[in-house]
Amino acid sequence: MSIDHPGLAPTRRLVLQGIVTVMLIGLGNGPWRQALAAANDPYPEDAFRQKSEADAIRALYGRTAAPSDQVKLDAPEIAENGAVVPIAVSATLADVTSIALLVSGNPNALAASYRIPAGTLPSVANRLKMQQTCNVTAIVEAGGQLYSATKEVKVTVGGCGG
């Protein structure tokens, strides 16, 4: 098998290209990929610093949300321990791109913001801290529009301490 064999040269090239591609894909899982991901998803520092719910929504999305029964917010009526309040959001909307959770009575209203890439279901469950009895709001961004659902959660023992 000689290098300049006319019939084999294209195959060799293909094989080499294949190896290089596989190596690049492998690299894609390393720290380099993490740095890239971080660049694609800047941390919304400003939105997390806002005190009120309205300011946080404005800082995060630049517009206001309309209440919708297509957003389902699952939160307890009474949270005995404000340090751990289980909260879940789901939506029956199409093209959901992000979900945010706000707790109006906390020092900073925005608690969490989730990016929902295509292929990920518009449903997320997590646990938040609540300082006092107040409204919890879920914002769902779908097709460029904002939809919301709000529920009051009574807190027996606050979870923001101090």
Partner: protein, 103 residues
């Protein structure tokens, strides 16, 4: 040291349900210690979950997420044996990551 991340990912049909539990103090910066000094804020800011080289979930968290954060979501396209890569970074620059197999 054992990883701070625990992941359970279960594929059923074309949907994979992912549950992640991370050990982290998630200090808000509003709580005082026994001597009455404020404990400085120390919380995870971002959590990434990757499947097949693509993000399937990105969480941005503030200090109002409870200590030892838990999160659950589902995505389409994963299958049994696939690898999920979970990583986080906190406000003090600390990070951790874990690769887990879909069950």
């Amino acid at each position: 040291m054992a990883s701070s991340i625990r992941v359970r990912a279960i594929a059923s049909g074309d949907t994979t349900e992912v549950q992640a539990l991370i050990q982290h103090p998630m200090d808000s910066g509003f709580v005082k210690d026994e001597q009455g000094r404020l404990i400085p804020p120390h919380f995870i800011q971002q959590l990434h979950v990757e499947h097949d080289g693509k993000d399937v979930f990105v969480a941005s968290w503030g200090p109002a997420v409870a200590k030892d954060p838990y999160v659950k979501f589902s995505f389409k396209g994963g299958s049994k044996g696939d690898e999920l890569r979970v990583s986080w970074i906190d406000n003090q620059g600390a990070t951790d990551q874990l690769a887990a197999k879909i069950q």
